[in-house]
Symmetry: C2
Subunit: 240 residues, 2 copies
Amino acid sequence: MDDLSGPAGPLYQQVYDAVMARIVSGELAPGMMLPSEFDLAAQYAVSQGTARKALSKLELSGLVERHQGKGTFVATTTDETSLFHFFRLRQSDGAQVIPQLVSETVRKRPANAREAAALGLAARASVFEVMRVRSINDAVVCAEQSVLDVVKFPGLKDRGGLPNALYPLYQRSYGITIARADEQLRAVMVPEAVGGMLALADNTPVMEVERRAIGISGGVMEFRLSYYLTQNLHYAVSLR
Amino acid sequence: MDDLSGPAGPLYQQVYDAVMARIVSGELAPGMMLPSEFDLAAQYAVSQGTARKALSKLELSGLVERHQGKGTFVATTTDETSLFHFFRLRQSDGAQVIPQLVSETVRKRPANAREAAALGLAARASVFEVMRVRSINDAVVCAEQSVLDVVKFPGLKDRGGLPNALYPLYQRSYGITIARADEQLRAVMVPEAVGGMLALADNTPVMEVERRAIGISGGVMEFRLSYYLTQNLHYAVSLR
DNA sequence: AAGTGGTCTAGACCACAAA
DNA sequence: TTGTGGTCTAGACCACTTT
């Protein structure tokens, strides 16, 4: 039986905050079942309807999944959802295509100014740099450089090959769930270093994508700089 | 007192559908106040809680706005929300910048194959083409070509200067509310015709954006092809 | 059969806005 | 003061999943 004396606002919001805190802390880990509506109501001394409203809001936020007859579970990041949701390249007909890894290198180095600012680190703090090239139907389509705080992702460099989708790995191995990603897109001439990696002519236009991946508690967990080839594919987005 | 015999599903969904239909038909026009929760409950012979759930879902869909003490109102598309929501160019610091119109031409012509397919029209059906060039701080930043079915937007060509944001005009003058827009982005060399309009060198990389603007009842109401200059600005999007 | 989420009701009280 | 939406409760019943 817990107490809600701390925060203010409606009861359902206090229950929402309390459960959210238990998820952030890891006490309720991804995949785990939450207490039922009645149990939760008893724990926080509210009615079932109020507990239900808190759970509905958690579901709306994407933090939990509810299934009639089974229960409420902390949301799990899977390869499918992660790739489909965060990898926006699509074919002309709108169909999703799963990219394959062509190459991958991981190294530890000091952050540059932009990376340190994005990740909220001190200048030249140590980061892991994951550089990956992806292909679709044997044609190279993008180069991605992901930059991570070594403190948040200890030992990342010494893992074997990394999985196709990184975010499920962040969640499983480091307890870091990516809730959303803010991207900034530009059309640029392919930079020389990237053009070399992708075997492109100097004057090829590519899409530069700067991503800040944000965890459920709000901080920037990953800074990613990508270059997409958009001759045969496009970046798809829905504004609503 | 209305009847809900037609459709199936939960009661609140039937109320949602009924009110939605009244909005789509124009009986409940943008800006109008809806019946209160109790009135709506009486009209459809359900409890206030059920009517409330339907209204909450309508609010979540963006079709209505609710204000404590005032009432529930059919959502209105304003220049600010429309520009902020659908015009994605931002400064490096993420700040929104309001673009100014530099030039505008409207003409009537047959649709090409891609436009006819996107709008669901017969080949070479008549469309209005609105061509606009925009600037920010006196620097040209984009060229937009909007294509509309002449049947849905009668007399558009003979209006004077069009407003900065088109969607509020669609709503006010034609009863067409844009609910969302699906965009496809590519990095390309600026096409010759566009480069001439924007006074750009031939080998400038620009972002090509193909937009399908979708009305509340689901159809494509506008097909838009834009070219954005991203030297000093970027296209911002949040994936969640 | 037991346990879960999903729907629906009836009623109470509160917070806010307008007359 | 009146009318609106916002919160909360207690209880009922249904639909689905698992044992």
